[in-house]
């Protein structure tokens, strides 16, 4: 996992953990509503960012493997 992907995943965890304090002061219905709409969307956005960062990382891993293979042949 790249450091960027990890950073986005960490953000998702932090937001979820900090919401647990808010959940204690709201009724379940309101907390559930907030969680499913606002937090759900934020979590989705951060998930998309983590996925985008993973794609970038995987693209460079594939590129570097290809280069490594050519250099192995060169040697």
């Amino acid at each position: 996992m790249s450091s960027s992907e990890y950073a986005f995943k960490q953000l998702r965890q932090v937001v979820g953990a900090e919401f647990s304090d808010v959940r204690k002061i709201w009724k379940d219905r309101v907390a559930g509503q907030f969680e499913s709409t606002f937090l759900g969307r934020i979590d989705g956005d951060l998930g998309d960012l983590a996925s985008t960062a993973r794609s970038l990382d995987q693209a460079f891993e594939a590129i570097e493997q290809e280069i490594e293979a050519v250099f192995n042949e060169l040697r």
Binding site: S2, S4, I25, I42, L49, A59, I63, I67, V70
Partner: protein, 300 residues
């Protein structure tokens, strides 16, 4: 911990969470910049390798031109072929890396834009909730305690009622331009007493309005809050007592505030013996019956 502390901590929790959400956007933006920087470093390494191989290729070509030995030439030809292959691969991978960064930049920018908008919506919701919680606490009256006493209850939590505050009329700060005038200094002959004097508004409605004023608006003034009709309109909305289709809710704080401190406020002027009433005789009469010691007035 008493209920006031619990309430304050609850509001703080909501505000801290809203602030934390605000930092999520900047943290995500930093992670995005870091990802771009890291990918940029990896691309630079490829560019560096490409330059190295191109340089080696040039050297091999020069040596090939200078070399006269056949075996050595054959060896150099194989080396040149391998280097050309490596340069070709590096050039293609460099393009792919550049494209990967470009795709990431585009996708992540879209994701960040969406995140920023969603975080803002969530923060707006939290701030509305905080305001509504404050408003509910401010206006919830404990009717069992009688006139002028208030208690706070948060509709969205299981907080217990807070301490009771007794309101002393005449000592509460009024909006600019208004003063508490002692009712005892207003001549009773100035006030309406006959049933036909109540043709604009019923006495019952006026009594209700003034009762709500003392129970709900005076405590807000007592806390030193700067009130406005607009702010009270928000409290009305939060409490579900906004007017509809031209109907004014009888408990509307906005309406009562406008009646007491708007253009139709109680207005008096000084006389030798006390105060002469220019406007608001009915209100003063009801206030006196309710046992008020003073009435908020504008002095002309």
């Amino acid at each position: 911990m008493n209920s006031d502390q619990i309430w304050i901590e609850s509001i703080e929790t909501l505000r801290e969470f809203a602030a934390r959400l605000g930092r999520v956007t900047s943290d995500a933006r930093n992670a995005f910049e870091n990802a771009l920087a890291e990918a940029g470093r990896r691309l630079l390494r490829i560019e560096h390798l490409l330059q190295q191989q191109r340089s080696r290729l040039e050297t091999a070509h020069r040596r090939m031109q200078e070399e006269e030995d056949g075996d050595a030439n054959e060896h150099l030809a194989r080396e040149i072929e391998a280097l050309e292959q490596a340069v070709g691969v590096l050039e293609r991978q460099l393009i792919l890396g550049d494209r990967a960064i470009s795709d990431f930049r585009h996708s992540a920018a879209t994701n960040l834009e969406s995140l920023t908008a969603d975080v803002q919506r969530a923060r707006n919701f939290l701030e509305d909730r905080s305001r509504a919680t404050v408003a509910y606490r401010a206006i919830t009256t404990d009717r069992s305690q009688g006139t002028g006493s208030i208690s706070g209850r948060d509709d969205h939590s299981s907080l217990s009622p807070s301490s009771v505050t007794t309101v002393e009329l005449g000592e509460v700060r009024l909006p600019d331009g208004f003063q508490w005038i002692p009712i005892s200094e207003i001549a009773a002959t100035d006030l309406p007493i006959l049933p036909q004097d109540w043709n604009k508004i019923s006495k019952a409605d006026m009594t209700h309005g003034l009762t709500v004023f003392v129970k709900e608006i005076v405590p807000l003034l007592q806390r030193g809050q700067s009130l406005s009709a607009e702010a009270l309109s928000e409290i009305d909305k939060a409490a579900g007592r906004s007017g509809v289709f031209g109907f004014v809710h009888p408990d509307s704080l906005e309406n009562i505030f406008r009646v007491m401190f708007g253009n139709e406020c109680v207005a008096v002027s000084r006389t030798e013996n006390g105060w002469s009433v220019t406007n608001g005789r009915h209100r003063i009469a009801v206030a006196r019956e309710l046992g008020w010691s003073h009435v908020p007035s504008r002095i002309l």
